[in-house]
Subunit: 140 residues, 2 copies
């Protein structure tokens, strides 16, 4: 009774998305899509890949993160100026962000509800609602 091979899962997901399963993409997909939800930056993932012995350039990491985002394997989160986070949790959810530590924590969408949403500006439709709860150490 083995679990399904994780790498074949990555492979399937790449194929399903219409992305050629190259060595680099496959390796990055495995790093990103196996295991729990994660928040990575490009530099961050590049370092991790190198440490894992995967030979991949930073440019490819950027390309891959954007492609994965386009096909819905990742979500991009804008939290801090000058730095993009990519989130492996693609379900509808929001974030706690601790400004002191830079830590990001998911909040499943069903835990939150927003009411009183005004109509979007004329001629536009809502694509997504992002809620970021900024916290800092302290309190009770």
């Amino acid at each position: 009774m083995n679990k399904a091979s994780p790498s074949s899962t990555a492979l399937r997901r790449l194929r399903a998305a219409g992305l050629r399963p190259t060595r680099q993409r496959l390796a990055l997909a495995r790093l990103l899509l196996e295991g729990g939800d994660r928040h990575v930056t490009a530099e961050n993932l590049h370092g991790e890949a190198l440490a894992a012995g995967i030979q991949v350039s930073l440019a490819t990491v950027y390309n891959t993160l954007h492609q994965f985002t386009e096909v819905g394997l990742l979500r991009e989160a804008m939290i801090e100026p000058g730095r993009s986070y990519f989130d492996t949790n693609t379900a509808d959810h929001h974030h706690f962000f601790c400004e002191a530590t830079g830590e990001l924590q998911d909040i499943p969408a069903q835990h939150l509800s927003v009411s009183g949403l005004p109509a979007p500006p004329f001629g536009t439709e809502i694509r997504r609602v992002d809620i970021i709860i900024r916290v800092r150490p302290g309190g009770v």
Copy 2:
């Protein structure tokens, strides 16, 4: 029956915040704090200042925007990667953001209500809740 001189308003607000009213700060304060609510970037405001004949360096514009934010004359909004917006509306509010045009529109906080907020991570307290409603052209 004149309105109160706008520049003396800017002056008062600078003094109240404990910031020396230098030529540059005063001029930027007038650009920012007179007239309606605005969303500016540093480059953006710098260009506007130059166009208005105000001699000020980009470094000072950055310094000033950050100082104004610290003392509560502005609010910083993180919306797009690689670019910070400063918001002259310091009241509690949220945003519509149109990804196609880059336009940002305020939503007064009293129009929205969020319920089901989970407790913040242990040892932290909530500093602010940011809601960004991303829209795109289209829809009915």
